[in-house]
Structures are given as structure tokens and as C-alpha cells.
């Protein structure tokens, strides 16, 4: 085994998803170490920039969810400092992080995505909640899904089937973000497609079908082992899965993503894959679908992580 670059894994941060990031980061660090990589694990704080300047790690892996980890800010800084890192570039990260922007771009590329509207808190304040929600419910109908325009792990997400629930869902979403996305709920099979690229171009991993015991893939269902059943590959016919995989690759390239991503879809009864969101830093905890898909595809997870770190090192900034 050749000498691997040293990796500084960043996890934690002060986002709402800190807890998930800490768990993902610890697992990534363990898997890298098991594959001969020298790893330092750090929680980004006010000392990080000075530390990066003085230590100049070979590669940084920002296993950060939410806020500066996924909004592109930290990656911009790494690019400015000339430090190599694993993951999508800052501009792509920024696009994927903002769900309405990502939906617009992938729709232009020919990918189906549920009809939706993105509304700011200020818009409701200025135009009045009753009238705005009236237009929304008349146009989109029910059921809809309300989610913060930025953020992950299903935090702030509500599944809504009435106007009264919609008001409450808006308040819930606005506690996480100043913009909310109201999206027509597509009934079908929820699947995740992981994408990896260790140097030979992006590859779609086997799809993972999600079947939460409670019916919705909530925060609890995501992070409580046993509260969700996974099927990999998803229980759809081969042509539908092949279509979903190609759509996932199209989303990955359209948004300019790199190294590793996870693209979420609902596959409806006609076999159409509806894009929901893309994650530039998918969760890598024990209950995460990307880790599960790598395992199902026969990959050595730690080996893939090492290959991603080596690739980031070779690529430079």
C-alpha cells in the first residue's frame, strides 16, 4: 500500500446537524485509519483557520452537514487557502444546498421534480399568510411536503394534508430557515442513489429504497436503527432503476458535484423518478443509505474513502 495523504476530517460545527456530523466524521475517520491513512479529527471553530495555515494538511475532508459545511463557505475558504479537500467544489455546493435553486437547474436539464414554490418568511409577513397559503393550497393542492429551503436530515420537514396543517408546517420550517419550500407530494417509492467518483467518472451505486415503519422518513426514522427498512436495489423493475440511476448521474453532473453525493427521488407508479434533493455531503453514519449502498455493491467502504482522499490529493485545488 503506497503512502496515503494525511487527512484532516472536520466534523461537528454549530449547525443543527452537528450531532449527525459528529457521528459521520468519527466513522469516516475510523474507516480511513483502518486503511492506513493518518487522520486527525477536528471540530471546526475559531481556531480552524490558523490551524489550517500552520499545519497545511495534505487533504481536508469536511464531513459537515448543514450551515458552513454545505453552504459552500468553508470550501471557498479552502480553495482560497490552496488546501485540497474531498467533495464538491464551493460553487456546486452552494447550488445543491439551496433546494429551490437545485430543483430549477435539474428541471432545466430534463429531470422531473415535483411542482413547488419557495417562499420567504418576509413574503408571508408582507403579503399576509392567509392569502398566500390560499393561493398555494389552491395551486398545489394536498398533500404537500414543507421543508426548509436549506438543511438536511429531515429537520423542519412536515407532510401536510390540510390548510391548518400547512400553517403549522410553515412555522416549523421557518424555525430552521428563513425560506421554505412547499412541494407537491409525489406518491411512490422513496429511493436514494449514491454517486461515487474515485477517478474513473461518476458511478451510480445500487439504489436504496426506504420504507420507514412510521410511513415518513423523519429524523427519528433516519437515525434510529430499525425504524426503517431498506431494500437495495429498490423493489422496482430494472428499467425503472436504470432510469433513476441515469437521472441521478445527470443531477450530479448538472449541479457540478464531485467525488461523492446522494440524490433522492420518489419513483411514481409510472416509473418516473422525481428529484427531491441532492446532498453534497451525505450522512455516513451506521444508518446512512450511501454507506449501505457501498456495502451492497461490494465496495470496501474504507477503501473507497481512502481512494477519495488520494484523488483529492492528486487533483490539487
Amino acid at each position: 500500500m503506497s503512502q496515503a495523504p494525511s487527512v484532516l476530517v472536520l466534523s461537528g460545527g454549530i449547525s443543527h446537524e452537528r450531532d449527525i456530523s459528529l457521528r459521520s466524521g468519527r466513522l469516516v475517520a475510523d474507516d480511513l485509519e483502518a486503511h492506513g491513512v493518518t487522520v486527525t479529527l477536528a471540530d471546526p471553530d475559531a481556531t480552524l483557520v490558523d490551524r489550517l495555515r500552520s499545519e497545511r494538511p495534505d487533504v481536508v475532508w469536511p464531513v459537515l452537514h448543514g450551515a458552513s459545511g454545505e453552504d459552500g463557505a468553508l470550501r471557498s475558504l479552502l480553495e482560497m487557502m490552496g488546501i485540497r479537500y474531498v467533495g464538491s467544489p464551493s460553487a456546486a455546493t452552494r447550488l445543491a444546498w439551496d433546494k429551490p435553486s437545485a430543483k430549477t437547474l435539474v428541471e432545466r436539464a430534463g429531470v422531473h421534480t415535483p411542482e413547488s414554490i419557495s417562499l420567504s418568511r418576509d413574503a408571508f409577513r408582507e403579503l399576509g399568510a392567509e392569502s398566500v397559503l390560499g393561493v398555494v393550497s389552491d395551486t398545489l393542492g394536498f398533500p404537500v411536503v414543507v421543508k426548509p429551503a436549506r438543511g438536511g436530515s429531515a429537520q423542519g420537514v412536515s407532510w401536510v394534508s390540510s390548510t391548518e396543517e400547512l400553517r403549522r408546517a410553515m412555522v416549523h420550517a421557518f424555525t430552521y430557515s428563513d425560506d421554505a419550500l412547499i412541494e407537491r407530494q409525489i406518491i411512490g417509492t422513496e429511493i436514494c442513489v449514491g454517486i461515487i467518483d474515485t477517478g474513473d467518472g461518476p458511478i451510480a451505486l445500487p439504489s436504496v429504497e426506504i420504507e420507514p415503519v412510521s410511513g415518513h422518513y423523519t429524523f427519528e426514522a433516519r437515525y434510529t436503527a430499525g425504524e426503517t427498512r431498506f431494500f437495495s436495489p429498490a423493489r422496482r423493475d430494472e428499467a425503472e432503476l436504470s432510469h433513476a440511476a441515469s437521472q441521478a448521474l445527470l443531477v450530479h453532473t448538472t449541479l457540478g458535484l464531485r467525488d461523492l453525493s446522494r440524490i433522492d427521488f420518489i419513483v411514481d407508479k409510472t416509473g418516473t423518478a422525481w428529484f427531491l434533493e441532492a446532498s453534497v455531503m451525505p450522512g455516513l453514519t451506521e444508518t446512512s443509505t450511501v454507506a449501505l449502498a457501498l456495502d451492497q455493491a461490494g465496495y470496501d467502504v474504507g477503501g473507497v474513502y481512502r481512494a477519495l482522499a488520494e484523488q483529492a490529493y492528486r487533483r490539487g485545488v
Binding site: H16, R125, Q155, R167, E211, F219, L292
Partner: protein, 435 residues
Amino acid sequence: MGETNTQGIILDPWFDHYAERSSGLSASEVRSLFAVANRPEVVSLAGGMPYVRAISSDQIKNTMARVIDNSGPEALQYGPGQGHPLLREHITRIMALEGIAARPDDVVVTTGSQHGLDLVARLFINPGDIVLAESPSYVGALGVFRSYQADVRHVPMDEEGIIPSALTDTIEAAQSEGRSIKMIYLIPNFQNPAGVTLSAARRLEIIDIAESAGILIVEDNPYGLLWFDQPAPPAMRAAGDKGIIYLGSFSKTLAPGLRVGWVVAPHGIREKLILANEAAVLSPSSFSQLVVADYLSHNDWQSQITEFRELYRERRDAMVTALAHELPGIHHTTPGGGFFLWLTLPDGLNSKEMLPRAVTELVAYTPGTAFFADSRGTQHMRLAFCYPTPERIAEGVSRLAKVIREEVELINTFGPTSTSTDRTEHVASPPPNLA
């Protein structure tokens, strides 16, 4: 991770094997937010951590060295299931400060008083039995009662603590259902979370009501010595045995890391507690017990408690002053001791749903829902003043006020929303190690 089959991949293959009492022990969106609370940028008014930095580390080092030098083999060995006799003697002297006359043989040492409560619940509660508790009540106790599948009924309280007439009404209502009421759980002094103290007169009334109804009282008293303005009334147990189980703790007066608490119970119960203690842990930590006993023997521990009182009083004052300045007109209790106050939000606000915004603004609190066995508490929050400095408390309250103002604006935009009935609310409180 396993093969896909018709059942799919279950990441926890034992998921269908868990006991019913574990239902609801799931990941929680609210609880995950508390992970942010231990970042230095965040002012945490959430956790109830004692300010152990106030204790001299030299005293603790010397204590531990003496324990090893003088009693090393004993400290590293199993001990009696009832606890070390020397420590039990000390405990009787501490309880005497609150009017309790007890003999060392009456005391059972436990791994923190939380463990004592668990043992009491284990001895008495069958699934479906009713436990009466204050409204609101300590989240850790609710967790214990839930784990034994108790049906917790909350009894209203006011600024003088639990209301006797309401207790009578609740007992009668439960009895009319033909249900078994096993105990009344109370924190009479500087209650967690409400910060109120049960008045002396009411203590006697409550004892009479419980005695007449044949219901045990579990008196949990971790904060009794930490009074600010005047000592708390004598402990309920000071009135005598009268079916009162008393829980004491060194977690607030010395250090929670030692995990030493105790139970005093009527004779028959005590004998069972010893057996239950042995079944659960064989014996409480000999090392920790000897450390506490040595500390009490060689240090002026009452002065240390006085120092804690002054420190926490200053922090209580800082919080009350900051609330008056930042949130004039908002209702909150003003505790005469302990660690917490209870704040009532303006109409329509939901403390649980507001928490993500608070975390964004770098302040944390515990939503009121954590302190109810049902879905109440949304309009309340518990604020802890025990850990942050007065300056940080002022900053935290300022941030909290901004969050509340923004939330009021949001509610004004959308109107009040219905309350949540999240099934994981009982665990949606900060873990004990979070400041």
C-alpha cells in the same frame, strides 16, 4: 449489513425483540439540537450541571490520595449492598440539617439518587400503575416512571408548590377508575423544573392526604441545602416515617461525577431496596463512597455549600435581572434556591418548535414538553442558571429575547398553531453531560 430479502435490510435486527418499556427510545430531532449546546459559542441555559469548578481541586486530590493511602484495597473492592457504614453516618448528619432524624442503618447508598428512584420504581410499579407527580415534574423521574410503564398523572402546582385540593381531586378521580396509585413523587425544595418550594403548611397537608389514601410519598431533595434567601422548610421526611421515601444526593452539594446518592425508607422497604441494589449493581462504588466520606471528614464542607449558595444566588439574580430588562412582562418563577426557573411564553408560542431558531442564535434552553408525561408544556421552558457565569447568562437571555420576539412575529404572521404530540417528547431533553 446483510442481504436484501423480502423483509428488506433492518439495520437493527433486534428491532422487534425489544421490551415494550423501551418504546419511544428513538433518535430525537430536539435532542439532536442539544449537541450544539456544548459548543463554546452557545450559551446553554439548558442543562442542570453543577458548577463543580467552585470546588478546590487540591481538596479533591488530597482526598483521593488519602483514600488510596489509607484504604486502598477497601476502596478498590466490592462493598456492602447497603453502602459503606462510615458514609451512612455522615449522611445522617447531613439530613439532620433539614430536620430528618435517621440512623445509619436507615440509609441505603445508591449510584446517584437517580438510581435510588429507579430502585424504588422497580419495587413498586407494575405496568399501568398510577404515579402522581407535580405539574411539571423532573424529566429524569418521568423517564424512570415511563421505563416501568407507569401512568403518570400530573397534579397542578402554584407558587407554593403542589396544591393539596388538586391532589385530593386527582386521587379521587384515579380511585373512581379503580386504579392503583403507587406513589406521589415530589421535589419539595426549589423544584426542578419550576423552581418553586412547597410551603411548610402544605407539606403537612400533603402528608396527611397521602397517609389517608394509603399512598407512598417519594421526596426527592437534591437542592434543599442550596437556598438563597432563607432556608427551605424542614423536609417532609422530618415529620417521621409516615410512608415517606426520601432521596438524597451529593451531586449538587459536591460533585455529580462521583455518582453517590442515597435513599431513606421505612424499614420493610429499605430491606427490599438493599436486595434490589445488590441485584442491580452488587454494591455502590466503594471508591466514590470513601472519597465522599473522607471529603466530609477532612474538609469544611458546610462552607463549601455556603460558597455554592452565594455563587448560584448571584447567577439567579443575573438571570432575573436580565429577564426583567430583556423581556419585561414575561412571567417566570423566581426561585429561592436550586438551579432553575420556569418561564411562560407569550400565547401561541411553542418552546419546542422554537428551539432550532434559538440554537441558530446560539442559545439553548429545555422546552417545557420535557417535563410532562403527556403533550403539555409547549408554552413553557426551563432556564438553568447554575452553570454559565452571570455575564454569559445576561448574553444568553438577550439572545433568547431576540428569538422570542422573532417567534412572536412569526406567530402574528401565521396565527397560533396547534400543539405537537411528538411521541419522543419524553426524551427530548438535554443529556446530563451538556452545559
